[in-house]
Structure formats: C-alpha cells, structure tokens
C-alpha cells in the first residue's frame, strides 16, 4: 500500500445550470483536496449555492460532471450521494425540530438494516440492540464534545440558531462522511461561536472528513481554510491560499469594492 491518498476529495468539471436565460452556474471547474478545508467564496449571485445544490443532487445540472470517489455523481439523487459519503448542510439550520437533540444525532447515520421496515420493526435480535446502545453512547459522546449533552432531551426546534448549527455539526461527526459541504455555516450565528465552529471543522479533518465551506464571513474563511476557490458569475475566477487572493485583482474586482483587500 503506497502512501496516503492524494486524490482530490471532489472534482468538478464544467458544471453548468441555467434558469430560463440566466446561467447561474457557467462552466464551473475545481478540485477540493483531500484531508483539507477548502473555502468557496464569491459575491452574492456568484452561483456558489447553486453549485452546491448541483453537487449534492438537490438540483439537476444542465452540463458538466462531478467526480466523487472515482464515480460521476452528477444527476444522482441526493440520498444516493449522501450514502456514498458526501453530506451537505443548508443555508439555514435544518435540524429535525420535533425530535430531541439526541435523536437528531442518532438519526444522522443512515442504517440500511434497521430502517428497512421489517427489520426495524421485528428486530429484537441482540445484535441490533447492542448496536443501538453503542450508537447512543457514541451520540452522547459527540454531544458532550460539543457541549450539548445537557440539552440532549430538548426539542431541537427550541434551540437557538447557534445551538442548532452545533447540532448539525454533531450530526456530521456522527455520520462521518468522506466529504462534508457546509453552506454558510456562520449565517445568522453569533460570531462568538466562530471559534467553536472552527475547532469543530478541524475535528472533522482529524477524523478523516474533508471539508468544503461556502461562506461570506471572510475572517472565518481565513481562519479555517487551507485552500480557497473564488467564484463569480457562475464560474471559478481564482484559486489558492487565502493570503494570495488578497492581492488578486480579479478577486478584488469581483467583490466590487475590495472587501477582500486589507
């Protein structure tokens, strides 16, 4: 077995999507390195969220290809992509509000066996029960790590925005995907939680999950990413470490006013 896998966690080539006459995503191509945090930034309307929807199967692309784990996944249904190991979050926290925090985390893992109707209902088998309590223990452990253990029986819908985001992160830790795409995780969240989230993202990397982060909050991007991709008008206009982008004229122009500069 040769050294660590250096193939990209995700590869996007020529991704395209139009609505009517408008090209939301127009020949977007990039690679997200494995084992790193890649940022995806760009001004409003750059097509970042649409690109995420296309990659994760929530929208159907008009052209291009997405390679994940050696397979072309464009056009696949979201649950297929998720089961392959690519999980994404959404711009607003999407917890399961009526379920408890603990249930939210436990249900993060899709369990083919026990969610099949027959086995789920009839399964009194010991192995199932054992797996179930090991799972609960794992979930509690993760919640504890995120400081949410005390809230585990609380209805998830009752939590604050920041807490919901943390629950989402806990879910991702539970699911342990190969790649997670975070869609504006800092949106609506108290900046105080920023460091906690950054640490959570670093923990993802440590447990083998590569990360792509879409964000408007540039200091956050600077804090967590090793590699940044800049999109504008539906396509990639620059790539590189965050520092290098400050002086990139294209990037500055795209942001119209130098939000990146200085």
């Amino acid at each position: 077995m040769s050294g660590p896998d250096t193939s990209p966690a995700l590869e996007v080539r020529g991704l395209t999507k139009h609505f009517g006459g408008v090209y939301a995503v127009d020949g977007c191509s990039f690679q997200a390195p494995r084992g790193q945090v890649t940022g995806l930034i760009g001004p409003n309307g750059a097509g970042k969220s649409t690109a995420i929807d296309l990659i994760s199967g929530f929208k159907l692309p008009d052209g291009g290809t997405v390679l994940f784990k050696g397979r072309a996944i464009e056009g696949l249904a979201p649950h297929h992509i998720s089961r392959m190991g690519l999980i994404r979050t959404f711009q607003s926290p999407r917890e399961w509000p009526g379920l408890t925090v603990l249930e939210n985390v436990v249900m993060a893992r899709w369990d083919a066996g026990r969610e099949s109707f027959l086995r789920g209902v009839v399964g009194l088998a010991r192995a199932q029960r054992d797996r179930s309590s090991a799972e609960l223990a794992k979930a509690r452990e993760i919640l504890d790590e995120f400081g949410l253990l005390a809230l585990r029986d609380e209805r998830a819908g009752n939590l604050s925005g920041g807490q919901k985001r943390l629950v989402e992160f806990a879910r991702i830790r539970m699911a342990q995907p190969e790649l997670v795409i975070l869609d504006e995780p800092m949106g609506g969240v108290n900046p105080v939680l920023g460091e906690r989230m950054a640490l959570a993202i670093e923990a993802f990397i440590a447990t083998g999950t590569s990360v792509i982060v879409v964000e408007h909050n540039l200091p956050f991007i600077e804090r967590v990413t090793q590699h940044v991709i800049v999109m504008a008008l539906g396509t990639v206009i620059a790539e590189g470490p965050f520092e290098s982008l400050r002086s990139n004229q294209d990037v500055v122009d795209a942001y119209l006013g130098g939000a990146v500069a200085g």
Partner: protein, 329 residues
C-alpha cells in the same frame, strides 16, 4: 342497553385501528392523506366479495367466493395495500402539502364513484351484505354470544395493533419516517430515500386501514357507499387530530373523545330549544347539527390546539443520565 354498549365498544375498537393506520401516514409521515378512507372501503368490500358467496341477481359483484373469514381478511388487506401502492406511487413522488391532499381527495373520489356507479364491481350503491357471524360457527355461538366474541376479538386485535404501532414508533423505521415529516431535505442529505420511505409508511398505514375495513364489514355484516359518508370520514380525521397526531396514546384518546361526542350528541341535541321541533320538519336536522358540531370541533382544535391533546412524546434519554458521570476507558 348492554347490546348497545357492546356495539359501541366494538365499533370503537375498529375505529381505533383505523385511526392508528391514519396516524402512520398523517401523524408520522406528515402527509394529510384524504384517500385513506378509500383503503378502509376496499378492505371492507373485498372481505365481503370473498365471503358472501356468488351474486344472486339482480345483484352484481366480482368474485363471490366463500372463503374462510381470516383468509378473506388477509387477501383484503393485501388488496388495500396494492391500491395504496398505486395511489401513493403517483401522489408521493412529487407532491406535498395541499397538492398531495388534493390529488388524494381526487383518488378517493374516483374510488367512491367507481364503487357506486360501476355496478359489476361491488354492486354499486346497494353494496354487499350477508356476512353473518364470521367464525361464529367454529365455536357454535348463538347471536348474543357472538356479539361478545366479536367485541373481544376486536379489542384484542386493537391491542395487538397498538402494540405493533408502539414498536414501530420507537423503531428506527418509525423515527426515519418522522425525520421526513420534520425536514425532508435534511433527511435526504442524510441518506434517506424520501420517496421509498414515504411509500413504505403509506402502504403500511393503508394496510391497517384495510384490516380495519375487513373488521368493519364483519361488524356491519354489510358495506356500501353510505357507510363511507362524510361524517364518518371527518370523525376519523378529527379523532387523530384532537387526540394528538403522532402519539398513539393520543390517537386512542381521540377515538374515545370523538366516539363519546358522536354518541352523546345524539342524546343531548334533541333537548336543545328549537332543534327538536326543527327535526320534525326536516328529519336530518339532528344529524346535521351533530355534523356541524364535529366540524366546529375540528376547526377549533386546528386553531387553538393543532398538536392535539396529547402531543407527541419525546424519547427521554434515561440511560444517558447514568453514563454521563465518570469517563469510561
């Protein structure tokens, strides 16, 4: 009086099963399915055509076998599930919210019209009759004893269904259904095949409906389109709503309350000033008054207590309380 009580309790148990089935689709999957009563009807009709024997002119209906009742019930349930598979595979693929409700309303209306109009199927509006004391002859029961037998049978079956639902509620399958209700997108992002999962829940619920329908046929000894009148349907849905959608105890409570309301209203309504006199002029007035009250109850609950009297219970992590303390190796 005793016979009346037996009859009411038997019907209550059957309604309870119906409500539990509806709860799977409306309470757990979160889809307001108006086609549900159709599956109950299919269950009832199929049970009858499989047990009452060949059609005697001028009656017309399909099959007309004389199978033993339990076998007929099994086939009836399978038929209900098959019909629901057809409706569900269309309605659940792309539709949610009111579009889903409207299409299922259409589906049930089509079923109703066909059952009533297309006489070769189930003898049209006349329907079928003649299912007397199924399984009674196994035990050599007389009329009164049979009433007790049926009551006991229905109560036991209700208890079994309740247990079954309790099992599902706590199972991963049940929880997966509820994630669909809570947030579909997130469920998909975490690996759930929304369509297939909803379809499974839908067919399961319909199967229970068909089962209840089969029992209903035995209780009524007959079935036709007047047995699925709007009142029956609204009472069923109200029971699930009033009691507490998603909570099987709530559903049972709802059936109890709506049952009481329906029974008691027939008793006290004639005593209301004016209503009694009106009823002599227009004989349906009492029934209409009851219907209006039920509708009002439904609307009031939707406004002031949409989660029902017993909201869904949450799994409280008791074990965890002990595991929190010292660090395990």
């Amino acid at each position: 009086m005793r016979e009346y009580l037996i009859s009411v309790l038997t019907e209550g148990a059957i309604f309870g099963i119906m409500a539990l089935g509806l709860n799977v689709i409306w309470g757990w999957s979160g889809d307001f399915d108006l086609a549900y009563y159709g599956y109950i009807a299919v269950g009832a009709y199929m049970t009858l055509v499989l047990t009452v024997g060949p059609a005697v002119a001028p009656a017309h209906y399909i099959l007309g076998l004389t199978l033993p009742y339990p076998l007929a019930v099994v086939i009836a349930v399978i038929t209900s599930m098959a019909v629901s598979l057809v409706v569900g595979s269309i309605a659940l693929r792309h539709l949610r919210g009111i579009y889903f409700s409207i299409v299922t309303l259409g589906a049930v209306y089509v079923m109703y019209v066909f059952a009533g109009q297309y006489t070769p199927l189930f003898n049209g509006y006349q329907g079928l009759s003649g299912l007397f004391d199924p399984m009674g002859d196994w035990f050599g029961l007389d009329y009164l004893s049979y009433q007790y037998f049926l009551l006991g049978l229905c109560l036991v079956l209700f208890a079994l269904v309740f247990l079954f639902m309790w099992r599902i509620s706590g199972s991963r399958f049940g929880m997966a259904l509820r994630t669909l209700r809570e947030d579909e997108r997130a469920a998909a992002a975490f690996g759930r095949d929304i369509y297939r999962l909803k379809l499974k829940g839908y067919v399961l619920g319909a199967g229970l409906g068909g089962f209840a329908g089969a029992l209903f046929a035995a209780y009524l000894t007959a079935f036709n389109t007047s047995a699925w009148s709007p009142v029956e349907v609204i009472v069923l849905y109200s029971a699930v709503l009033v009691g507490g959608r998603g909570n099987i105890w709530g559903v049972a409570l709802g059936v109890l309350i709506m049952g009481l309301l329906v029974q008691e209203s027939t008793r006290f309504l004639p005593m209301l000033p004016g209503l009694g006199e009106l009823n002599t002029v227009h004989p349906q007035v009492l029934l209409a008054a009851r219907g209006a009250i039920i509708g009002l109850v439904l609307v009031l609950f939707l406004r002031f207590r949409p989660q029902g009297l017993l909201p869904e219970r949450r799994f409280a992590d008791s074990e965890g309380a002990l595991a929190v303390a010292p660090q395990t190796a």
